[in-house]
């Protein structure tokens, strides 16, 4: 049972890192999975083409919220290009739990929203794969 919701995941869920609003963010986007109601708002401060800080707010299942919390640590200091190119596997590895396709959508919600924010602010490409995450509404 416990392989499902590991300590690390529950820790991030119950104590999300970099949670809250980021005043004067350089990039921002919103993502929502209408199927289950998961919702995140991602904000990023850029420092010389790198991710100075990423913060998020939102609500939803443990997977979506913990994954976004983990992401805030994962991208810290990456260049904008590196962050924009981060594969889904990066966040799935971090979660380290078996996920059904339905839950993968929860897991990548934060990452997708981050990429959208970067795309809008500095024009990094939106990887083609996001086109297939059709049930997520990017706002």
């Amino acid at each position: 049972m416990d392989e499902l919701y590991r300590e690390n995941l529950m820790d991030h869920y119950q104590h999300p890192r970099h949670h809250g609003e980021l005043p004067d963010a350089d990039a921002e986007a919103e993502g929502q999975n209408p199927l289950c109601g998961d919702h995140v708002v991602v904000q990023v401060r850029l420092t010389d083409g790198t991710i100075g800080e990423m913060r998020f707010t939102g609500q939803g299942c443990a997977v979506s919220q913990a994954a976004t919390s983990m992401l805030t640590e994962l991208v810290q200091g990456l260049t904008v290009e590196e962050a924009a190119a981060l594969p889904s596997s990066a966040i799935l590895d971090e979660l380290a739990i078996p996920l059904s396709p339905m839950r993968v959508k929860c897991a990548v919600l934060g990452l997708g929203t981050l990429k959208l924010a970067l795309h809008r602010s500095v024009g990094t490409p939106l990887p083609a794969e996001w086109g297939d995450t059709d049930e997520i509404v990017w706002g």
């Binding site: 049972m1 529950m10 119950q14 289950c36 299942c61 929860c106």
Partner: protein
């Protein structure tokens, strides 16, 4: 702990007919508590379809040869079975569709387009499944009619006090209402609504997706004008459902989809439509699925719809009682079993329903998490989503007990 209900049908005997119930998931036998979404299938239904394909398969209404006659008889025999099940006045009143959704669309795009105009009113309710909301939104947009929704209270009980005001606003043409909410299990006061609608010269479409499967439904006694249901929730195959409609109404409608089967004669310049019910069935129908639905109906009638209803009632009472033992769990909707069918929505503290459903799955307990295709209702209740457990003739108290065990595990894992 609540007392187990007295047996009303032999649920262990019934369960032997459902091969999927032998499935083991994560080391435990399946506890399928999502029948409001789709029902599991008895082997008798599966065997009937395989037997049909293996002995009599041919296109219907066409072949002069033996197989074609057998297959047409089987298909039209299924229509007779549906007509009997619903106590329709005539088999001509039964139109096969893919599902409830297509049946409602059919009415919106034929009766609706022919009878609604600017200033007219269509009434629906906040309890409805999306299938009984969106087609009316589209119809209202296309015709300039106004769509009004009856509200419910916080327990999901439909409120009728807005009716008077609605009647003053314009000509009410259509009242589209569910027989039972698929999210809360509540049943709207149908008799009152029908009386009010008919007093306005409006017709009533009843979404019976949640009731045809599990209790006697008599269209003449209900006094409605159209009724829709899905085969897949009724122990039958996917890909088939039915619209029942009063013959006088159906006879006056233009066709829905067009092509083969629904025509009497085709010329390049003009085409003459077939008579009822075929006028509304374009192209090769889902005839093997009709055979499956017929077998499903035979199965339901063999067990007895009254017994099934009583069993569901008893299981629901048991589930309501046991769920109330779980700390921090809140049941959404009425907690008395006689106001509702075998569907129970709940939330558990602030744990997201998806997490609950996922953890329950590790116990092989299948419940649904989300809005259950009733977003307006979920929003009206001020919730992001609910967990929903729903029951059917094969549901046991043991499965409910396992749901409870799973929920306690959710509390442990999620720390609430």
């Amino acid at each position: 702990m609540a007392a187990a209900p007295t047996p009303l049908l032999d649920v262990e005997l019934v369960r032997r007919d459902f091969p999927i119930l032998e499935r083991i998931i994560h080391g435990q036998p399946l506890a399928y508590l999502d029948s409001a979404s789709t029902a599991q299938k008895p082997q008798q239904m599966l065997a009937a379809v395989t037997r049909f394909y293996s002995t009599s398969n041919a296109n219907v209404h066409r072949g002069v040869y033996t197989l074609g006659v057998e297959s047409t008889d089987a298909f039209e025999g299924a229509r007779d079975a549906v007509a009997r099940l619903l106590n329709a006045r005539s088999r001509r009143e039964v139109i096969f569709t893919r599902n409830t959704t297509e049946a409602i669309n059919l009415v919106a795009k034929t009766y609706g387009l022919q009878h609604c105009g600017p200033g007219d009113i269509i009434v629906s309710t906040v309890l409805e499944h999306h299938a009984n909301i969106v087609p009316w939104q589209v119809l209202a947009q296309a015709t300039g009619a106004t769509l009004r929704f009856l509200d419910c209270d916080d327990a999901g009980v439909l409120q009728l006090d807005a009716l008077d005001g609605i009647a003053r606003e314009g000509n009410v043409r259509i009242v589209a209402v569910t027989h039972q909410s698929n999210t809360l299990g509540v049943r709207p006061p149908l008799a009152q609504l029908v009386a009010w609608a008919h007093a306005q010269d409006a017709i009533v479409l009843l979404d019976a997706a949640q009731t045809v499967p599990n209790r006697p439904v008599d269209v003449q006694a209900l006094g409605v004008d159209f009724l829709a249901f899905s085969g897949h929730k009724t122990l039958g195959p996917t890909g088939i459902g039915a619209l029942w409609g009063r013959e006088e109404l159906l006879a006056g409608l233009e066709p829905f989809l067009t092509g083969g089967e629904m025509i009497r004669s085709v010329r390049l310049e003009r085409t003459a439509w077939n008579t009822l019910p075929w006028k509304f069935e374009a192209g090769t129908p889902a005839f093997a699925e009709a055979v499956g639905l017929h077998a499903a109906i035979d199965y339901l009638e063999g067990v007895g719809l009254t017994a099934i209803d009583a069993h569901e009632q008893a299981i629901t009472e048991y589930a309501l009682a046991r769920l109330q033992e779980v700390p921090k769990l809140r049941i959404i909707g009425p907690t008395s079993a006689d106001l509702r069918g075998g569907v129970v929505s709940f939330v558990l503290d602030d744990v997201h329903p998806h997490d609950i459903a996922e953890i329950l799955d590790r116990h092989a307990v299948c419940v649904r998490a989300g809005h259950h295709c009733t977003q307006p209702l979920i929003e009206r209740l001020g919730l992001p989503a609910t967990v929903r457990a729903s029951f059917y003739l094969y549901t046991t108290t043991d499965e409910i007990d396992r749901l409870i065990v799973g929920l306690l595990d959710v509390r442990r894992i999620m720390g609430v």
